[in-house]
Amino acid sequence: MIELNGVSHSFGNIKVLEDINLSVDKGEVFGLLGPSGSGKTTLVRIMTGMIVPDEGRVRLRDQEMPKRSLMKRFGYMAQEDALYQELTAWENLDFFASFYLRKKKKERMEHVLHITGLTEYKERPVFKFSGGMKRRLSLAIALVHNPDILILDEPTTGLDPVLRRSIWSEFYQLKENGKTILITTHALDEAEKCDRLAMLRGGKVIAAGSPGEWKKELRTDSLEDVFLHYGGGDI
């Protein structure tokens, strides 16, 4: 569903990404793991078509990005909550939903508010929301048009464990319905929950595989050892 071939990108003379190759299959939860500053967000922005990379190709659903018709096909959640503070949750959701949906818009909005547990807060302005509620609203916005692909930049950062678990169960639900999910994270316990992982460091993919494979290969039970092994101790 997502395919990156030889992607390199620089900001000025700083090389942020170097020769990235990875592919995410349908129905998979793919984790992009790496410390902050490793280029995760830039890579995500390349996948969403916001940045056209200096080199390499990006394909979504076997079509080259950036392409406007593909913009409807993915749901995106940015690292920072991009919400209009003075508007209510409902109004924020309605604004973004209007770009995708005409008929059934209200139905979908009610549905995503329900699964993110925000139905009772929908009339509340966003500036009164807690951090977790804002994250959930951002997720609701990413889901509202029922996309096949979800690109989520640190979706659970800053959330408490209970909320995290509920969001992950939502991810699995989506996966079961055939959705493809790409998330970025720097939390190892989250990486463990992914089907497959790519570890990014200094703009390069330094390791790829499933958490199980990695552990087997290095004969360890903890992903932390894996992380340290590949990443070196100086992260």
């Binding site: 916001m50 913009m71 991009a82 508007l87 604004f95 973004f96």
Partner: protein, 337 residues
């Protein structure tokens, strides 16, 4: 079509942000009121035409601080109508008549005094005084009023529009919106529509307040005034949102005021520039407010119609369209598509 989606959201935000609404509507009214209270008259270079004047009177006038030309009656009247000259001195049945152009009350006293001295006759008694435009009661507030209306609308739309677009950038919503299938022109168009609707309201309130409460001189058509203020507001909005691309935060947006707004105050006609060197006057031609101010003055003081103001309307449209196109282009920094 996503333009109405963006426009609707902007209007919703206005409803929640009462302070910005107040800034755009109440602040111009307040400042206009203050200026109305304090403005006083001063002198400047004037041009006067004489028709069939005795040689002695002409020489006496020409030796003063004024520029004096001899014209035939028809040309003089035409120039007076276009405000190219400030006054006309002529004789009717051997009685001198001083015809003041009237829309600039700052020079009335100067002209009257000079003519009085040149002719050795009492103004108002032996010399009849008439006004081509306006009335005897006009003062500097009436003269500068139209410019001030234009200026304050321009200024506050520039600030609020620029800052709200800037906030889209800093809070990440701009980028978020651009990951949807929206076209860049739809986003800019939505801003123009949302703000446009709001600035219609703003213009109506400010113009009504100025004309009916502050009793600003107004002989023209109210709809024409509103048309010009709307055009000026859209120009200010497109310039504000464009420049917000070059500001990292609200404070940097405020830094554009001395660079973009203040110069327009000096060259748009609030202060007389007729006496200055040609190249300095040319600076004013590069500023949108100059055309807006000329048009508003033409309508409010001289009852000109849009046909007389083709050039000003055309230039405002050019500024507006160029800034808008640059806006759409500037968004490429966020998304190439």
């Amino acid at each position: 079509m996503n333009i109405p989606v963006v426009a609707k959201r902007i209007l919703l935000q206005f409803r929640r942000d009462k302070r910005s609404v107040a800034l755009m509507i109440v602040a111009p009214m307040l400042v206009l009121t203050l200026l109305w209270l304090v403005l006083d008259t001063d002198d400047r270079l004037v041009e006067i035409a004489v028709v069939e004047a005795p040689e002695a009177v002409y020489e006496q006038l020409a030796s003063g601080r004024m520029e004096v030309t001899i014209l035939d009656e028809e040309t003089a009247r035409e120039q007076l109508n276009n405000a190219e000259i400030d006054a006309l001195l002529k004789w009717e049945e051997a009685r001198p008549i001083l015809l003041l152009e009237g829309s600039d009350p700052t020079n009335h006293e100067l002209i009257k005094t000079a003519v009085q001295q040149a002719m050795g006759m009492e103004i108002g008694e032996s010399v009849r005084v008439d006004y081509w435009h306006g009335t005897e009661d006009m003062n500097i507030f009436h003269y500068t009023g139209p410019v001030l209306i234009g200026f304050f609308i321009f200024f506050f739309v520039f600030i609020v529009g620029g800052v709200s677009f800037l906030r889209e950038r800093t809070q990440g919503t701009l980028e978020r919106v651009l990951t949807t299938p929206i076209h860049r022109y739809e986003l800019v168009g939505g801003y123009l529509l949302g703000f446009g609707l709001f600035t219609i309201l703003q213009s109506i309130l400010i113009v009504f307040y100025s004309v009916y409460v502050l009793d600003m001189y107004m002989v023209g058509n109210l709809w024409r005034v509103l048309f010009i203020t709307l055009l000026l507001a859209l120009t200010a909005l497109s310039l504000g949102t464009l420049l917000s691309a070059y500001a990292k935060n609200e404070f940097q947006m405020i830094q554009f005021i001395p660079l973009v707004i203040v110069p327009q105050v000096f060259f748009s006609g609030l202060f007389p520039v007729e006496g200055l060197a040609g190249w300095i006057q040319l600076i004013g031609n590069l500023m949108p407010l100059t055309y807006g101010a000329e048009a508003l003055r033409g309508i409010m003081l001289r009852n000109e119609n849009l046909g007389d103001l083709q050039w000003q309307v055309f230039m405002l449209l050019v500024f507006f369209l160029v800034f808008t196109a640059l806006n759409v282009k500037a968004l490429k920094r966020h998304r190439k598509l």
